[in-house]
């Protein structure tokens, strides 16, 4: 056990990190990979099961065509070649999360190989990550460890198994070793997982929710002495389940590896688990023997041999990919690189595009989402898209402002009402009585009152110091609780002082 860590700057001074990322994506097909059971999240335990996914004797798997198509679309979007022929294999292990005692997976014949994904780093630099493979497999069941203090295996008295998730289609996407990241390794890792998530989301083949486990990341990392080119022993960190954690796991492992190597010890080739609360990793499987899965071709499933026509048909279904879309929106909305990056980082791109599609001018749509709504999201500690307001509702508020029915202050109150669950913008305007007062009679009375209250200001205006009118406008706005049309008020003040 090495207790101390090496300072990150010191690590990159003396070591080169070698990074590898394995990402599991749960597909959003209606049914499982090899049987017709549903895949929905959160059902009562063991209610989405059948003889096949329970591994009962005599049951036979049949491949879900939609899952194969999703896998090929992911492969194509990652610029991979689609293998013209491949088999599933059995990965044998004795662990109760798979009732069959094996997991059906593609092993040495993955459906997609040799691709790449260009990822944008924080400063706008494009970094190309080479993809080794994407292959199909099935998810495992969920274990609940009972007894023991931590809910972990160690100390548990027994385990309870729910097989609803067993057999849900998974795609595992594996990068080649990523060299040359240096001090940017943590950033590259996060940027890659972000880009992959956005890509898969655009394909519509998965929910890619890291918080719900429909996207999971394993981080492989090794260090070699700067410039030596000697490949170090790697550790594999599992359980990295947020974008921030991906970055932190890489950083932590770099500092931990360096400490072990500096102490003249050897890195243990092992699986480690990321600890969300402390941003550290702890040793998982320390095995005296190597893992031994005794893979062999699955005899119950026939080979997958996609024809060139099928592959081309699927290529034709690829949507506009995220980076192409970003470039297009950047041009359409006239954004600088930095402005675009801020929108992407804020998760505002989709929302702004939808608001524009609902009829709002791009500038105003952008300003609402990145300013007032972003503040509201921050205050509630949720992401922008989790705010209880739709792009169409935002577009409606923008239209009400453009039509002179609301001013900006009132518009924010309408948005507050929508966020508070008071209904559509028009209903909030009605219920809260938020329409701009442009009735001259009422405004003139308020203006006269304000002028009478501040005779010295009134005199200045009469003397031609029009700028002094601001004070009166402010008083009138206050008197009308912000509901006056400020422009009209100013006109009336000049009129009344003329």
């Amino acid at each position: 056990m090495t207790a101390s860590l090496v300072d990150f700057d010191d690590v990159v001074e003396r070591y080169d990190p070698m990074l590898g990322l394995e990402v599991h994506v749960e597909l959003n097909t209606n049914t499982k990979m090899f049987c017709g059971c549903p895949t929905g999240f959160g059902a009562e335990p063991n209610t989405q099961v059948c003889p096949t996914c329970l591994g009962l004797p005599g049951s036979l798997p049949v491949v879900n065509r939609a899952a194969v198509e999703s896998a090929m679309r992911i492969g194509l979007a990652l610029n991979c070649s689609i293998a013209p022929w491949g088999r599933f294999a059995r990965k044998n292990y004795f662990y109760p999360d798979m009732p069959k005692n094996f997991q059906t997976s593609q092993y040495d014949e993955p459906i997609a190989v040799d691709g790449w994904l260009d990822v944008t780093l924080d400063d706008g630099e494009i970094f190309r990550v080479e993809i080794e493979r994407a292959h199909m497999e099935e998810d495992t069941g969920k274990s609940l460890h009972v007894g023991g203090a931590t809910g972990r295996i160690h100390g548990a008295e027994y385990s309870l198994l729910d097989y609803n998730r067993a057999g849900v289609p998974l795609i595992e996407i594996v990068t080649k070793m990523i060299p040359g990241t240096r001090e940017r390794a943590p950033e590259v890792a996060r940027a890659y997982v972000t880009a992959l998530r956005d890509l898969i989301k655009s394909l519509g083949v998965s929910d890619v929710r890291m918080d719900q486990g429909s996207m999971r990341c394993d981080v492989n990392l090794s260090l070699s002495p700067r410039g030596s080119g000697i490949l170090g022993t790697r550790s594999e960190t599992k359980n990295v389940n947020s974008l921030r954690s991906v970055e932190r796991a890489v950083r932590y492992e770099m500092c931990r590896h360096a400490a072990v190597l500096d102490a003249g010890e050897k890195i243990v080739q092992e699986t480690r688990h990321f600890q969300e609360d402390t941003a550290t990793t702890r040793s998982g499987r320390v095995k005296e023997t190597s893992e031994d899965y005794r893979y062999f071709p699955e005899p119950d499933l026939v080979p997958i041999a996609p024809s060139a026509e099928w592959v081309e048909e699927l290529r034709g279904t690829l949507p506009e990919l995220p980076w192409a879309r970003r470039a297009r929106l950047q041009a359409e909305w006239g954004l600088s690189d930095e402005e675009l990056r801020d929108l992407v980082n804020a998760g505002a791109l989709d929302l702004i595009e939808a608001t524009v599609a609902a009829g709002a001018p791009a500038g105003e749509a952008r300003s609402w989402w990145v300013a007032y709504l972003a503040q509201q999201a921050n205050a509630r500690e949720v992401t922008l898209d989790a705010l209880p307001i739709t792009p169409a509702q935002v577009a409606r508020v923008i239209a009400l402002v453009a039509g002179g029915e609301l001013n900006n202050k009132l518009a924010r109150q309408v948005v507050d009402g929508v966020l508070a669950g008071e209904g559509e913008p028009d209903a909030v305007v009605e219920a809260r009585g938020l329409k701009v007062v442009s009735d001259d009679g009422a405004l003139i009375a308020a203006v006269d009152e304000a002028l009478a209250a501040q005779p010295d200001v009134a005199q200045k205006i009469r003397d031609g110091k029009v700028a002094a009118a601001g004070a009166i406008v402010g008083a009138v706005m206050k008197a009308t609780k912000g509901q006056a049309d400020a422009k009209r008020v100013r006109e009336l003040i000049i009129e009344r002082c003329g």
């Binding site: 017709g36 004795f94 198994l161 097989y163 499987r285 095995k287 005794r294």
Partner: protein, 127 residues
């Protein structure tokens, strides 16, 4: 080493596939060792006594030897195959099929609790 039964995978780089095991390629005269039997027993979570190691090593040897005789008839012009029937691309549509109720699913389980299968504590590994 005798007949290749186990293919260690932990040492490979991510994505670099270890070879799929081909029992039929093993040398015909290979003898399975006690150590190999012990290793397999450990992977299968089976408690095997010292005496049983010798018994099983002998028995497994006979089985592997019998299977390996296939290699005697396999000629260079016959490619290895994993399937008896020359079929490809058999799929089902992504449509729900009725499955089992929770009660049915658990009916064959030796023990269950809260709608879940109950299994003995799992040692030494973590998923």
């Amino acid at each position: 080493m005798g007949t290749r039964l186990d293919v260690p995978t932990a040492g490979r780089a991510p994505g670099v596939a270890a070879p799929v095991i081909h029992l039929l390629e093993g040398p015909l005269s290979a003898a399975i060792t006690r150590d190999e039997v012990a290793h397999l027993a450990r992977l299968a979570r089976l408690a095997v006594t010292d005496a049983e190691l010798d018994v099983f090593a002998g028995q497994l040897d006979v089985i592997l030897g019998s299977v390996a005789r296939v290699g005697e008839v396999a000629a260079d012009d016959i490619p290895p195959t994993s399937h008896a029937v020359p079929l490809e691309n058999v799929y089902r549509p992504d449509e729900l099929r009725p499955g089992l109720s929770q009660e049915q699913a658990l009916s064959g389980a030796p023990a269950s609790e809260d709608g879940r299968f109950r299994v003995p504590q799992i040692l030494g590994e973590e998923a």
